[in-house]
């Protein structure tokens, strides 16, 4: 589902953000990517989303060679990847319904389909009753659920979550992780970048640890490796 072969990424300043990363993620995997700030986790996510192009190496996501992807093909490619961010990135002036529906509008799903799909996904994330609320009227946990609903409404085979619990309290963090686990159970490949030691250690999933742009450990049913 996701293949990285000897991927390097250097920014214009010359500092290498990723240095020879190789990685295989199978369909239906649940993977944590952990590491300190500056270890290259966010760069990895940006490469997978084709926000960045690798300096060298190959990246294949869902059968698409990301490095060779033409600019006009990027939107279609991204529609197969759900993405959730630490800061939720919701459209602040639109309500919950519109934020989620937007992901369907961009792929031109008929309005009558959207009217069926949005309430269904909102009830999956437990927000069926708040479809009229604006993001500012929601708690952090609720906003992240909206972001999750938006990421999932098009049934993407891959979900990338970049620090999804970074702005949440422990209770909400666990609820979001349970949702991610449930989504994974339904067949979606899930990659979660996180700093949350408790969650990583408790969930016993595959854990890839990065440090200074390289993978220092990749363990099935692993735990958070203490840098100190």
């Amino acid at each position: 589902m996701i293949i990285l072969e000897d991927v390097c990424k250097a920014y214009s300043t010359g500092a290498p953000a990723l240095n020879g990363i190789s990685l295989h993620v199978q369909k239906g995997d649940f993977v944590f990517i952990v590491g300190d700030s500056g270890s290259g986790k966010s760069t990895l996510i940006k490469l997978l989303l084709r926000e960045l192009i690798p300096t060298s190496g190959n990246i294949v996501v869902n059968g698409t060679d990301v490095g060779k992807l033409k600019r006009r093909r990027i939107p279609k490619f991204r529609r197969n990847i759900g993405v959730v961010f630490q800061d939720f990135r919701l459209l602040k002036d639109r309500n919950v319904y519109e934020n989620v529906a937007f992901a369907q509008r961009v792929i031109q799903v008929p309005t009558r389909e959207i009217r069926k799909n949005v309430p269904a996904i909102l009830s999956t994330v437990g927000l069926a009753g708040k479809y009229k609320a604006k993001p500012r009227q929601l708690s952090g946990g609720e906003q992240q659920r909206v972001a999750l609903a938006r990421a999932l409404i098009n049934n993407p085979p891959i979900l990338l979550a970049d620090e999804p619990t970074g702005n949440l309290d422990p209770k909400n963090s666990w609820e979001i992780m349970k949702l991610l686990e449930e989504i994974n159970r339904r067949g979606t490949t899930v990659l979660v970048v996180t700093h949350n030691r408790e969650i990583v250690n408790a969930m016993k999933k595959r854990v890839i640890t990065m440090k200074k742009g390289v993978i220092v450990s990749d363990e099935e049913r692993g735990g958070y490796i203490d840098e100190n």
Partner: protein, 299 residues
């Protein structure tokens, strides 16, 4: 594109205007001021040019004939003159008509002393009016070369002055219109740029969800066009009211100059200004939003 997507995009364009009221008002005001200045300038220039061309149309060269010329020869000369492209109108003035006009213009009651006598005998002539006074020189050269023509009376100074004034107005208009457009585009692209920068994050989110450039850009472009249309119609309305009042005021205050001050009608001015202003507004709104959004699409 699906009909529902089209309607959604249109709706978002309208909603964007309301969501970003301050930015929308600033953009409408900027476009409005620029187009108002353009309208004002156009009205002044168009009227000035109209007055100059009215003055030009009253300038004629007078063609006088050799003393022994026959009526048929005069007729032939008239046909030759009428065939020229420079000529708009040719009027034959017989010696009797020339004398009558002279008496009315210069002698009045003193003309009685010339009872039964015509001092302008043999002074019948053609008054030749031109399409464009700048063509006077070439026409006069031709007229002087015709057999049977004694001389051609013209005022080169008036013709040259009017012709120069007309060219000057043309050049100055072009210059000022160019400056106004450049200033408008600069001001509008700045205003649009601020508006789009504020929504840079929103554009980024749309792109990461998988929106195409078209889907991201369309509501901004619709918003730009709507702002352009509103920004162009407001100054049209204001200048329409202003134009009527200014003309009425000028004609009542300077009634002695009414022969010289021949203004274009409000219909003449606005038949040109309305489509041009709306096109300018739409064009500026479209280009301003299209290119400013483009900068933020590379996500």
């Amino acid at each position: 594109m699906r009909i529902s997507t089209l309607f959604y995009t249109l709706k978002q364009g309208f909603k964007n205007i309301l969501r970003n009221k301050t930015f929308s008002l600033a953009s409408i005001a900027t476009i409005g001021v620029c187009i108002f200045l353009f309208s004002l300038f156009y009205a002044v220039v168009a009227n000035f040019q109209h007055m100059v061309s009215m003055a030009q149309s009253n300038i004629a060269v007078v063609v006088r004939f050799d003393p022994d010329i026959s009526d048929s020869q005069i007729q032939e000369i008239g046909d030759l003159i009428r065939a020229r492209v420079e000529v708009s109108k040719v009027t034959f003035i017989s010696e009797e008509e020339a004398w009558e006009t002279f008496k009315e213009d210069y002698l009045g009651e003193y003309a009685d002393g010339f009872e039964g006598d015509n001092p302008l005998e043999g002074e019948s002539n053609y008054e030749v009016f031109l399409n464009d006074v700048s063509m006077q020189k070439s026409l006069v050269t031709y007229l002087e070369s015709i057999d049977g023509v004694r001389d051609v009376v013209r005022s080169e100074m008036v013709a040259n002055t009017l012709s120069s004034v007309n060219s000057l107005i043309g050049y100055v208009s072009l210059g000022i219109i160019f400056i106004l457009l450049a200033v408008s585009i600069f001001l509008i692209s700045n205003t649009v740029s601020i508006g789009v920068t504020v929504r840079k994050e929103e554009i980024g989110i749309m792109k990461l969800i998988g929106a195409t450039d078209f889907v991201v850009r369309a509501p901004f472009v619709i918003e730009g066009i709507l702002i352009g249309v509103i920004g162009s119609l407001i100054p049209v309305g204001i200048s329409y009211l202003l134009y009527n009042n200014v003309i009425e005021y000028t004609l009542s205050e300077f009634s002695t100059l009414s022969n010289l001050l021949q203004f274009l009608s409000v219909q003449d001015i606005f038949a040109f200004l309305v489509p041009i202003n709306v096109s300018l507004g739409v064009g500026i709104g479209f280009l301003g939003s299209f290119f400013t959004v483009r900068k933020h699409l590379k996500v």
